[in-house]
Amino acid sequence: MKGALTTVPIIKELDIVGARQSGRNLARDLGFGSVDQARIATAISELARNIYLYAGSGEISFQEVQGASPVGLKIVASDHGPGIENVSKVMEDGYSTSGGLGAGLPGVKRLMDEFDIISDDNGTKIIVVKWLR
Amino acid sequence: MNPEYKDILLTHSDDIIRKWMDDLEDSKLRDYKSTISDEMIEQVNREFVNLIFSILKDGHSQKSIEQFSERIVNLGWPLGYLTEGMQSFRTICIKSLMEHLDEHDKDGFLQIMEDINHWVDPIKNELVDAYSSNWTSIISLQKVALQELSAPLIPVLDGVTIMPLVGTIDTDRAKLIMENLLDGVIKHRADVVLIDITGVPVVDTMVAHHIIQAAEAVRLIGATCILVGIRPEIAQTIVNLGIDLSKFPTKSSLKRGFEKALEITDRQIVSNGEEKKVIDDIIQSIDKE
């Protein structure tokens, strides 16, 4: 069972909850412990909220990957929103355009093992991976 | 391999083995000689040479190579024993072939070299691979063992728990420590946790960062963290590095930390005066006499 697992569309606010629940279930099925499940679910929540707030709609997809460690969960959050103007700025702790805590993206980076972001006029794609230890 | 060579090697195997064993006598193992009995060396050498000849005779056997490597690892012999053994084996085989063959021209020699290398090198590579993968698995086993004794949590009183930390703290261990700590706080319903860092040799910015994070996490679940066992040199490093530990209580020793824990949980140690009573009794009984 390797490869694409599932994709969750993010259109309305409640989809944030749906996405993180799917993510948590997948993480549990892959054998992640309760703490890592919470880390993964929280990261998904942040990513999904960003999609909802800044792009309006998009999707979150889950993949099982293999590499450095036997199993990993790869999460791709993609949207076709306006894109992030200053990527290095949003990766700073405490930077927020929405009046939030500004912990979102840098927080996600700390919660996960790998973090990659691609953003341009056609939208934003954030790829994160958590490895099973 | 050229069947002719194979025949020669097999026919003269006794001679080759004798020479090879002599050669091995002065090998890498000489550093270890004092701790290993001659019989043992003799026996393992024989296994080694049997392995090589069985491969020559019956073809390749990955399983027996792995088994032999595992044995060498378990005996604690160095990798050099295997590599040097194969090296000298190669030399002796080539010499032996040169002796028993008539072709002394350049091409013949190259041919022999090539054939022997073709035979010896894969065995050598596999021995080295098997040896190192054996080591790797031993290391990962030890890592697990180390993690198990990594962060014990000891309840000492209702609501007071101690976590003594010993050894270096890296990111992986810090995560484990934090998980154990928080689970333990819930399990023992601890109001106060004393983290004792007497056994942590170096407290740098990263270690301090992990400890602060653990203390913050403990606060979020509703308990208090006290950092104890701060030696003078650690106090110096902490201040020199500009690390701010002022947010939670720190004490020099476990004893002082424990007193603080009692204070937080609103308790006192009271002597029940037994000792004094015994002495009073004795004095009274003397008075009576």
Binding site: E13, L14, I16, V17, R20, Q21, R24, S34, V35, Q37, A38, R39, A41, T42, S45, E46, R49, D93, G100, L101, A103, G104, P106, G107, R110, L111 | M178, E179, L182, D183, V185, I186, R189, A190, D191, Q213, E216, A217, V218, R219, L220, I221, G222, A223
Partner: protein, 119 residues
């Protein structure tokens, strides 16, 4: 969905038994402040034992509730935050510095009582 808020003498007790989505959290903020205003409560215990995820948004809402309640003269204690949630918050860089915490509802009430008496 609404989170029930119970009154006990001077205190308000809240046990969050559902997964917090954004809407519920905002509604809760509003309801709690309304209830404080209505009852004149001086202390609030919010039990989070059943909450499995707190992300930065929910954390902000909860932190804000504490500050807002403080402005209205009510102290808030959060209880029962799960280890996994606590670690995740720390990873996110959220320390909820203005928030008081306790192990469980009982400890939370004791803590509130102590703090209110000290004043």
């Amino acid at each position: 969905m609404r989170i029930p808020i119970l009154k006990l003498q001077n205190y308000l007790l809240v046990s969050v038994q559902i997964e917090l989505d954004d809407q519920t959290a905002m509604q809760f903020q509003e309801d709690l402040l309304g209830k404080i205003h209505e009852t004149g409560a001086t202390g609030v215990v919010v039990d989070l034992t059943s909450v499995e995820i707190i992300d930065s948004f929910i954390a902000k809402v909860l932190g804000d509730v504490v500050s807002m309640a403080g402005l209205m003269g009510a102290k808030v204690v959060f209880t029962g935050i799960q280890p996994a949630v606590s670690m995740t918050l720390i990873d996110l860089g959220i320390h909820l510095k203005n928030v008081q915490t306790a192990l469980d509802l009982e400890q939370g009430l004791i803590k509130l009582k102590q703090e209110l008496e000290e004043k």
